[in-house]
C-alpha cells in the first residue's frame, strides 16, 4: 500500500519507503563500492527509484526491486572509476591507523584491524563477484532474490558465488597476514 501511495505521488509514503530500506541500501552500496562513495551511490539509486516507481509492478518484493537499482548503480559507479591496484602484498599501511589518543583494548584493536584488512581484500574481488558475495554471505539473502537483484539466472548466481568465495580465499591465502585457510 505504501508503494502504491508513493506511485500516486505521495511524498510522505516515499519518505517512509526510503526510511525503511535505507539501511540495506547503504550496506549493499558500501560493501560494493566502498564506504567513501556509498552515500552518493545510495542517494543516486534512491532518486532513480523515485523516478521509476511506476515501473514497479509488484512482481517480487519492493526491496528486491530497489536493490536491483542499487546493484546497477553501484556497478556503473565502479565502471566509471579509474582502476587502482588492489590487494597488494602488504596492507598494513592501507588499513586506517588507530585514532590518536583513542585507547582501545588490544583485542578490540586487533579485531578492528582484521576487519579493515578483510574489507580491503573484499574490495579486490571483481565487482560482479563482490556483489553476489555481499548479497549472499553478508546480507544472507536467498539465491532467488539475488537472481532478481542481479538480473541473472539462478545457476549463474550459484556459480558466481562459488567463484567469488574461491577468489577471496585465494586473495587471503596470498596475503602476508595468515588467515589460516586450509588447502
Amino acid at each position: 500500500m505504501l508503494v502504491r501511495r508513493a506511485q500516486n505521488g505521495d511524498m510522505r509514503a516515499f519518505e517512509e519507503l526510503v526510511e525503511r530500506h535505507r539501511a540495506v541500501v547503504f550496506r549493499v552500496a558500501a560493501r560494493v563500492v566502498g564506504p567513501h562513495e556509498a552515500d552518493d551511490v545510495s542517494q543516486d539509486a534512491l532518486l532513480r527509484a523515485y523516478h521509476r516507481l511506476d515501473s514497479y509492478r509488484g512482481e517480487g518484493s519492493f526491496r528486491s526491486w530497489l536493490l536491483r537499482i542499487v546493484h546497477n548503480t553501484a556497478l556503473n559507479q565502479l565502471e566509471r572509476r579509474v582502476p587502482e591496484p588492489v590487494g597488494g602484498s602488504d596492507d598494513i599501511e592501507q588499513a586506517a591507523p588507530p585514532r590518536e589518543g583513542a585507547r582501545e583494548p588490544v583485542s578490540r584493536l586487533e579485531a578492528r584491524e582484521r576487519t579493515e584488512r578483510l574489507e580491503l581484500k573484499l574490495s579486490g574481488l571483481r565487482p560482479e563477484h563482490r556483489a553476489v558475495l555481499v548479497l549472499r554471505d553478508l546480507e544472507g539473502m536467498p539465491y532467488e532474490e539475488i537472481a532478481l537483484i542481479t538480473g541473472s539466472p539462478l545457476g549463474s548466481v550459484k556459480g558466481r558465488l562459488h567463484r567469488a568465495r574461491n577468489e577471496l580465499i585465494e586473495i587471503l591465502r596470498n596475503n602476508t597476514y595468515d588467515w589460516e585457510l586450509p588447502r
Partner: protein, 75 residues
C-alpha cells in the same frame, strides 16, 4: 554459508572471517533520507516546467527548420 553442506573447510573458515564484517555493518548517516526526499521533491517540481521548456524549444527548432526549408524551396 555454514548451512551449506558442500562447503569445504576453507569456505567454512572464510565464513568465520566474514562474521567480522557481518558484525560491523556500515550505517548510513541521518542526513541521507532528508536529502533524498528534498531532491526528489525538487526534481518533481522542476520536471513539469522543464518539459514545457523542452517542448517550446523543440517547436521553435521545428519552426526554424520549416522556415529555412521553405526559404530554400522558394529561391
Amino acid at each position: 554459508m555454514n548451512d551449506e553442506p558442500d562447503a569445504g573447510p576453507a569456505e567454512r573458515r572464510l565464513d568465520e572471517h566474514l562474521d567480522m564484517l557481518r558484525a560491523t555493518p556500515p550505517v548510513p548517516g541521518k542526513a541521507l533520507v532528508p536529502r533524498v526526499v528534498r531532491r526528489a521533491r525538487l526534481q518533481s517540481y522542476l520536471r513539469a516546467p522543464l518539459r514545457v521548456v523542452g517542448m517550446i524549444g523543440f517547436a521553435f527548432v521545428q519552426g526554424l527548420a520549416a522556415l529555412i526549408g521553405g526559404g530554400r524551396k522558394s529561391s
